[in-house]
């Protein structure tokens, strides 16, 4: 398997386990995002891939070769930091040129490559500027230019937009995606923001407490979150607690909102996800579920409704329309259990 392979990597700090038995791969040209809440081990994992930290066990490979004894500067990987870490004593040109100088490239070639990189990130002619006087967005672009100028075989990005404000972030995510795609750049992208990860990545590795929760394409993750943690992390919070009961006829789940068929398994407590996108507004008389609207939040194209059904609070986004029920009104929802429900057994260990 060519590209980057992370194999059973574990790293401890004292008694805490920062990364536990993590394995996944990044194929050439692929952008993989590692997502998770802060402290989930994603930055530690990045440091291990970069060679700034050694794993306690496991291995990191590139094109089948172990990188264990290859120091950071010989891995040919680029790394972009959250707060950019531009060299304050060098101007924009010298920052971008640094990696090329280290590679021993001749001056003419360096000038050409730096100009290309600055062009690519949308900062042509910025070479002589003092990096300390740049805006946050400009610094971010210089940092990107600096890390892509040597054409790294793998580009690692550690929350590269984390230090920027939201509007800028949304614009730069788009730019970043275009730049990485255009270069066919193999990239490992670390972020805590799932929207960023979904917008950028071919595949997403979702981490929690040092372990991989789920790996998959963004759509796959969103449509089939394999664990309750993944569902919650992706903002899918219509979770019901229920009981699974099995007999000769099969299994079913009993929740405050109703009784539905369930996949076979252990009898006992179970969590049910009601996937919001599979739930539609119904006309009265044809309701799978009915409740009272508690809150209406207009968000432009969509409107978010909070409703109470049999003591359970649920949230759904619907396309904004005049006929949506208002606060205090009854609402009727329709969904097919097979499409809308996902079941999570109570985790035994946790």
């Amino acid at each position: 398997m060519p590209g980057l392979e992370i194999q059973n990597v574990t790293r401890r700090f004292g008694s805490t386990i920062a990364v536990q038995d993590v394995s996944f791969q990044v194929a050439p040209g692929e952008i993989v995002a590692v997502v998770g809440p802060s402290g989930c081990g994603k930055s530690t994992l990045l440091s291990i891939v970069a060679g700034l930290l050694a794993p306690d066990s496991g291995d990191v490979r590139w094109d089948g070769q172990s990188l264990r004894h290859l120091p950071t500067h010989r891995r040919g990987f680029g790394l972009m930091f959250q707060d950019f870490v531009l060299f304050p004593h060098r101007n924009v040109f010298d920052n971008v040129a640094f990696g090329l100088q280290m590679a021993g490239m001749d001056t003419g070639q360096i000038q050409q490559r730096v100009a290309e990189a600055l062009e690519l990130v949308g900062l042509p002619g910025f070479g002589e500027r003092d990096v300390n006087t740049l805006s946050g967005g400009e610094q971010q672009r210089v940092a990107l230019a600096r890390s892509i100028a040597p054409r790294p075989r793998l580009l690692m990005l550690d929350e590269p937009l984390g230090a920027l404000d939201r509007a800028l972030r949304e614009r730069l995510v788009e730019d970043l995606r275009l730049i990485l795609r255009r270069m066919h750049q193999t990239a490992l992208y670390v972020t805590h923001d799932q929207e960023e990860a979904f917008a950028l990545a071919d595949r997403v590795v979702l981490m929690n407490a040092g372990r991989v929760e789920q790996i998959g394409a963004p759509m796959e993750l969103y449509n089939h979150p394999e664990t309750e943690f993944v569902a919650r992390f992706l903002g899918l919070d219509n979770l019901l607690s229920g009981q699974r009961v099995c007999d000769e006829a099969g299994c079913r789940v009993e929740t405050p909102l109703g009784r539905w068929p369930a996949p076979p398994g252990r009898t006992g407590a179970i969590t049910v996800l009601l996937r919001p996108d599979a739930v539609h507004l119904g006309s009265s008389g044809d309701c799978t579920l009915s409740g009272t609207v508690q809150e209406v939040v207009f968000k432009g194209r969509s409107t978010r409704l909070e409703l109470a059904a049999n003591g359970v609070l649920l949230h759904f986004d619907f396309p904004s329309r005049a006929e949506l029920p208002g606060v205090g009104e009854q609402i009727c929802l329709r969904f097919s259990a097979g499409e809308a429900l996902q079941f999570y057994d109570e985790a035994a260990g946790d």
Binding site: A50, G51, H73, F98, A103, R146, S147, M156
Partner: protein, 577 residues
Amino acid sequence: MSQPATRSVASNRGRLGWLLWLPPLIFLALFYFYPLGNILGLSFARQEGGWTVAFAQALASPSVLHILGFTLWQALLSTLLTLLLGLPGAYLMARYHFPGKAIIQALTGLPFVMPTLVVAAAFNALLGARGWVNAALMGIFDLSQPPLQFTNTLTAILVAHVFYNTTIVLRMVGDFWSHLDPRLEQAAQSLGANRWQTLRHITLPLLLPAIAAAALLVFIFDFTSFGVVLILGGPRYATLEVEIYYQTVSLFNLPLAAVLSLLQLACTLGLTVIYTRLSARLSRPLALKPRQITQRRLVGWRARLMAGGFLIFLLAFMTLPLLGLAGRSFYGLDSGRERSGEVQTGPTLAYYRALNESRRSALFYAPPASSIAISLGYAAATVILAVGLGLPAALALSSQRESRLSRLLDPLFMLPLGTSAVTLGLGFIVALDQPPLDLRASPLLIPLAHALVAFPFVVRSLAPSLGSISPRLRQAATVLGASPRQVLRHIDLPLVGRALLVAATFAFTISLGEFGATALVSRPEYPTIPAAIYRLISQPGALNYGQALALSTILMVVSAAGMLLIERLRIADVGEF
């Protein structure tokens, strides 16, 4: 509504900024420029044709040129050697934590606390004709003459200077280094730079302001070195400072002494101006990181072995002379050569007992031991004066960095540093013993002289820390309703707590160890410890020598205790950022 509010804040700041300059300026005017003016007057008082003639004559003299050349040469060599030893040490102290680090830090701080006289005496006690090494060699090989010639060589001067000043590099560079974001180096490595390239292209350029500042201090120290050259160099080697002292005290040729001190002043002033230009160009708004982030453990036996070996060498170099001194103060070695009976060979407390006795030799009015209390009092007063004056100066410098006044006054504040201590003492004697400023009998004279010597150190250690505080922090506090004084109290002071302690340490240790100015200013009935040591050491006889060593040992212990206390304070300090 917001218009008047912002206006008043701005004008408030402006008024406060102007007031900040006042105390240090008045102090310098009275106790630096006024005495110096008197010396300047002296230099051409008896000369026809003004002071340019005196200068031209001095510069035309081969002996003066020779002294000037030697002064520069030995200072340059000493500085390079000091950097060679200090930079690897600064790196280890800044980037790693290891067992015993606090102790090592305190111990390597010891030499700097020692008066030059004691440093000279310590090397004498270790390597001199009567020192441990020569005594041992004579014993082993049954020699009648000491085989090792150490005193009166250039080597002795250089070794003592390196010993004395390595602390400056360790502290100034190490402190800056410990706050340098290690991810800058990681970024360089991820861009393909190996360790050497990272050092050359990233770390060293970023450290350059700190290295330049430390090297400049070391150079000026070596350039104006007095006690070390006087005692270890012997008659063959005279720096400008020693020559000024000879001309003043031995030959009473005050006009020549004045011309020489002006020559020295011109050199050091030139250096300071170059430095200020340099540092203005080099300083960067670096984001300083907390030490917890920047420091790690030594990993691997090779790294541990190399670091351990270097630290042991450093520690041995910086403590052995002092240990030799202390040991020598408890051990009689001279009975074979001296009049018999005064001190026995072997372990003895005789030197210490003698400190408490008022001998009739009229060397002292009081027992030598009383100088300890006197010195501590002076040191406390010096800390209050130097920090009290240095803080407003550093605040003004850092808050009005771009202003013309700042650029003008920054080198001005460094002037006392470039002025030899002997010259300062001479100036005090000449200027402050007559109206309008008659301080002859004032107990403040010594703290004033010491504060003058310490002032540049205080400013230099405070200003960079104050300058490194993001102005946005101050703005944030102002927006939250803090007055300029509250900003100072709640933002600046806590953030520079560490730097303040460093500054106070500088002031305290400089006062305890200061000898050049003290030698001229101190009153015989109130000798400081170094003055007492000098008086004892310049007398013949094993007992006087031993008493000098005993007093030096006590000074060493007192200073070490102070340093250790401050190191401890630093660790628990909330001001650590």
